[in-house]
């Protein structure tokens, strides 16, 4: 991108070509004092940051939400709580959550991860409940009649039958968490969203590049989880008539 003669006054308009160039080659910036920004090294670093943030947040969300959802589903208890909790969770304004955590508790990886985990909990819990709750009662009775313990029933009968729904919850949570990890820079942790948020540093092409990278990352994660779901789903469940 050629620097314009008048300096700051001309705002370069974002273009796909410019964004792709930004991803692979470091660009000069108006505000960093000669230090170049963008380029493949920074892209990889920020992508890994965002991925790591997402994975840790999801692990925490799973650890909290899965046992509760499985337990309630197995006992068929608190149905309306579990389901409305899942819906209500979508109403959490993620930008404000991140900013509030940063302001009230502090900035940094640990606090951002907690905020993101909060977003991941509702869909995982709700889907775990629904998945287990809707397992055919006769299958469960048959397992109980065979002398299985409650834990065995959960592990060998209910969870395998509920895999599609359980994975649906994890996928919803992943979409929410990876999307929100984009605005993690507001919580003091740099992710790909940095390109988007700090336009004065990266320029319009940097913003567009950030958007492209975030979209690619999210779609890649989703496709990976769809693949995992196929592997985990029992062959018997795939034979369902249309």
């Amino acid at each position: 991108m050629a620097e314009s003669e008048t300096g700051m006054s001309a705002i370069p308009v974002a273009s796909i070509e410019g964004a792709i160039e930004f991803i692979f080659t470091p660009q000069s910036s108006n505000v960093t004092g000669g230090k170049k920004v963008g380029g493949i090294d920074q892209v990889i670093e920020l992508t890994l940051n965002q991925l790591w943030l997402t994975v840790v947040a999801l692990a925490i969300a799973l650890a909290v939400a899965l046992p509760i959802g499985l337990y309630l589903g197995h006992r068929h208890k608190w149905e309306s709580f579990a389901i409305s909790f899942g819906t209500a969770g979508r109403g959490i304004p993620e930008l404000i959550l991140i900013a509030f955590f940063a302001a009230a508790i502090g900035v940094g990886f640990r606090n951002v991860v907690l905020a993101l985990a909060i977003l991941g909990i509702p869909p995982i819990l709700a889907n775990a409940f629904v998945g287990i709750n809707q397992v055919d009662r006769s299958s469960v009775d048959a397992a109980r009649g065979m002398g299985m313990s409650e834990l065995e029933i959960l592990r060998k009968v209910e969870i395998p039958l509920a895999i599609p729904t359980l994975m649906g919850g994890l996928r919803s949570a992943t979409i929410a968490v990876v999307a929100t990890a984009t605005i993690a820079p507001y919580g003091g942790y740099e992710t790909l969203g940095d390109f988007i948020i700090n336009e004065n540093v990266y320029g319009e092409n940097g913003v567009l590049a950030g958007a492209i990278l975030v979209a690619l990352l999210a779609v890649t994660l989703e496709l990976t989880l769809a693949g995992v779901q196929r592997l985990l789903t029992s062959p018997g469940l795939k034979l369902r008539p249309a």
Binding site: A88, E94, T180
Partner: protein
């Protein structure tokens, strides 16, 4: 500046139009308290335009998304081979984070409210489409056959039998889509789209790390989500009188 009391006396503005913006500013500067009541009392009116923009963003986006998703559902009901591409297409669009979506539109629509509305409506497609399809699928075959036996045309069956019976699922989709949109619309401010996010990251922001501001903006957003959710649950109840007639 004209004396507030003069204007108030002339009946041009109410006395409380002139807020004491300085009240609570010490609390704001320290930002030590979780919530500065004085500041909140004297500045709450500043949220009004952003609140209204937020409501507009949500209502317009969900309406557009609903009409589009409903249309897609009717199309794929007629030509069933469209169902898989529609499901995949809306699914991929749903996967793209909204922040990214706002800025992917940058070279085409620039910044502003239109960009935000496009992204937000696209985001609702998947949920509404999937639930509409699910609802129509779950209509008992026997009800449709009975309607046909009574001499109803396909259009009549759709309007008088299938849509009413599918309405619980359709409205559930609408509830989830609306509640999500209320939350996501706070991000529209990043793309200059207005809404309650403006007070946090917009040009006229009242403080990204000012806790009182975050609590007010967050509270308004969550309250809006709850109000929309309850309203739609009321609609759902109205549309399904037979559910209430059933003994417990």
């Amino acid at each position: 500046m004209i004396e507030p009391t003069v204007l108030a006396a002339a009946g041009q503005v109410g006395e409380d139009f002139f807020k004491d913006r300085d009240a609570g500013s010490l609390c704001q500067a320290n930002n030590a308290n979780l919530f500065c009541w004085d500041w909140a009392k004297n500045n709450i009116d500043r949220y009004e335009p952003f609140f209204i923009q937020h409501v507009e963003l949500v209502v317009i986006s969900v309406l557009i998304g609903f009409v589009a998703a409903f249309g897609l559902a009717l199309l794929s009901r007629r030509w069933s081979w469209l169902r898989v591409p529609f499901l995949l297409g809306t699914g991929v669009l749903y996967t793209i984070p909204s922040v990214a979506f706002f800025f992917l539109l940058l070279p085409f629509t620039g910044r502003g409210r239109d960009t935000a509305i496009i992204a937000l409506s696209v985001y609702t497609l998947q949920i509404i489409y999937r639930n509409t399809i699910l609802g129509l699928d779950n209509v008992p075959r026997a009800s449709i056959d009975a309607a046909r036996g009574m001499g109803m045309t396909d259009r009549q069956i759709l309007r008088k039998v299938e849509l009413p019976l599918a309405s619980p699922e359709i409205v559930t989709g609408l509830i989830v889509a609306t509640v999500s949109t209320v939350a996501i619309a706070t991000l529209a401010a990043l793309a200059g789209g207005g809404g309650l996010g403006e007070v946090i990251v917009g040009k006229e922001k009242l403080g990204l790390d000012f806790k009182t501001n975050l609590i007010i903006a967050g509270g308004l957003t969550i309250a809006l989500a709850i109000v929309f959710g309850l309203m739609l649950m009321g609609v759902q109840r109205m549309l399904t009188p037979w559910r209430r007639a059933r003994p417990a």
